[in-house]
């Protein structure tokens, strides 16, 4: 059970949401709630005083193609998104996260902005050079600020957001879902688990794009690795591993095993894209 006394706020607009955040010290945005419900129960350090339920903000629920892009609201559940046919790679990646009935609640924005490190939904969005629309409290008493920025510009291991900044939606350029793609994911044992390594790759016509999570405790994409794979394919594996930097070793898997999985996945991915 969640023992803390929590205030619940349900704004109808993005502006109300950031306003609520300003008025309630220590408030957290609540979307699917799958992480908040567990962290509030289990983690003594997780301080939960107020939840701002952002699921009814219309802009966070868009699911449409317009203006040359696929716009996906941050409050859409992973199941809702994965049932669409607009972005097959995204569907494949989302289907690996948690389990089906959790995905019926877990949202796209929550997966990217949450505390858990894997953030696998970021992989296809990073590969697609998606943009992200956010709203943040204005400085002092000025009105909230909306910004649409490239995801990669504000993604460094996690979404780098200002205090109180709320993700509203993601925008995927329409050519990206058309690219050939590949996705591999391995866990310690059963499928319903955090990934040891999860790799997503596309070929954008000009070259290979590669993103990975699990190998590091965060999603990773870099131009350097894309360039290496585009130029030399599987022959670039040693250089790619070097460029990826130190990989993770933990109670789930050793470093050597993660490296082996990563190599297998990159090789298989390159074959899929060829």
């Amino acid at each position: 059970m969640i023992a803390a006394d929590v205030a619940y706020l349900r704004p109808d607009t993005a502006e109300e949401a950031v306003d609520a955040w300003r008025r309630h010290a220590g408030a957290r945005y609540l979307a699917g709630g799958t992480e908040i419900a567990t962290a509030a129960r289990r983690t003594a350090a997780f301080d939960l005083r107020a939840c701002i339920d952002v699921k009814r903000i219309p802009e966070a629920n868009v699911h449409e193609i317009c203006g040359g892009c696929l716009r996906l609201g941050a409050a859409l559940t992973l199941s809702d998104v994965a049932e669409g046919d607009a972005f097959p790679l995204l569907n494949a990646v989302l289907r690996g996260i948690a389990d089906r009935t959790v995905r019926n609640r877990l949202t796209l924005g929550g997966n990217l902005a949450g505390l858990l490190p894997y953030r696998e939904a970021a992989l296809p969005l990073l590969l697609a050079d998606a943009t992200v629309l956010t709203v943040a409290p204005g400085a002092d008493d000025r009105p909230p600020v909306r910004q649409e920025r490239p995801l990669r510009a504000i993604f460094d291991k996690r979404l780098v957001l200002a205090p109180g900044e709320l993700v509203l939606s993601f925008c995927v350029p329409l050519e990206a879902p058309e690219w050939p793609w590949s996705h591999y994911r391995r866990t310690r044992t059963g499928e319903v688990d955090y990934p040891l390594v999860t790799v997503a790759m596309v070929h954008d016509g000009a070259g290979v794009r590669f993103a990975v999570s699990g190998a590091h405790p965060y999603p990773f994409r870099s131009d350097a690795v894309d360039a290496l794979l585009s130029k030399d394919g599987a022959a670039a594996l040693p250089a790619v591993l070097e460029a990826l930097g130190p990989l993770r070793a933990d109670a789930r898997a050793s470093l050597e095993y993660r490296v082996a999985l990563l190599k297998n996945m990159i090789r298989a991915g390159l074959e899929d894209l060829a």
Partner: protein
Amino acid sequence: MKELSGIVEIVLRINGEERRAAVRPGDTLLRVLREKLGLTGAKCGCENGDCGACTVLLDGKPVKSCMLLAVECEDAAVTTIEGLRDHPVQQAFAEENGFQCGFCTPGMILNAAALVEAHPESDDATDREWMQSNLCRCTGYEGIRNALAAARRKAAAP
């Protein structure tokens, strides 16, 4: 904007009935069902979203009631196991021994009922994707698989 704190009265639409309850905003739907409304069919198997014993239907979709707040469910239709009566999936679980201890069964049946409704035709990959959400420690899943098949046969029969 709705703002709730302290003890609040909410109205939930559960199994087609309006149910009122005094809750704390931090109360999960699971705890409110069990402790405020006497609907103990949903079980506290882990309260961590891992086991599925607390599964209910929210607007027809199976969700884990330990992972959502009761106050989030106002305006939604909640179906608990107590709301299913002589459903083909229930009959099939009984006939095919889709349970032993019965503790996972309410959640398992609600998930299965939603699955059979969404996918009347059997498809191993889809069944697996859906049913992996619920743990059973007794049956080894054989009886549950057989129950799914039997429920689909029942649903398809005129």
